[in-house]
């Protein structure tokens, strides 16, 4: 299945883009998906990362579905 992955700020700089599409095995959970993303973009390992699925902070067990919107970003710094 295909899902899109969004990057912001430091993670967008680390991967050199703001959005990619990745292929995941059916039945993958959030942990699997984010492990896959980090192995594709090892630069991300330099950062403290947070993960979201469909605009919510992700539980590691959350099953990912075709068409989901994933996001990988650093601990937030607004305000």
């Amino acid at each position: 299945m295909k899902v899109s992955v969004l990057f912001f700020g430091a993670t967008a700089d680390a991967v050199g883009g703001r959005e990619v599409e990745i292929d995941l095995a059916d039945g993958s959970n959030a942990d699997d998906a984010f492990a896959e993303i980090i192995s594709a973009y090892p630069n991300l390992k330099q950062h403290k990362l947070l993960f979201a699925v469909n605009q919510e902070y992700a539980d590691s067990n959350k099953i990912i579905c075709n068409g989901d919107e994933l996001a990988v970003f650093t601990a937030v710094s607004g305000g």
Binding site: L6, A10, E56, T74, A75, G78, G79
Partner: protein, 150 residues
Amino acid sequence: MNQNKVDFIELTTESLDIGAIARRVVPANCGAIVTLDGFVRQFTKGRETLYLVYEGYEPMALKEMEKLIEAAKAQFQIENVGIVHRLGRLEIGETSVVISVAAPHRRAAFEACEWLIKELKRTVPIWKKEVYADGETWIEGDKSEMMNDE
């Protein structure tokens, strides 16, 4: 006045009018508004910032801000909350975030406003880049803080 319809959350690249934002949260039974005006600091730990760039994951940021308002209203005696966060490039001294809390009595408004900014800085997906004379860096928050409270 309809007391339940005046909470608001917004993201904007326009400059923020603090007084106007504060006035939007006032219902008739309130006696105090506490408003935080967060603005761009020139010196951080002795290093001079030229300007900031804020970026947000906008749909998620709006959802998280909405959750904060719900949670604040559940734990403090307050009536209405407005949160507006600016995105894009901000110069020194420009307002980046305004949080206004209206309450029947001031104490709850002070406490809720402090709680809201602390949580916003922990959970709402917005990031700032500090630009210096000799470089720039995306500021990363404290992840351990983020994970502990879930």
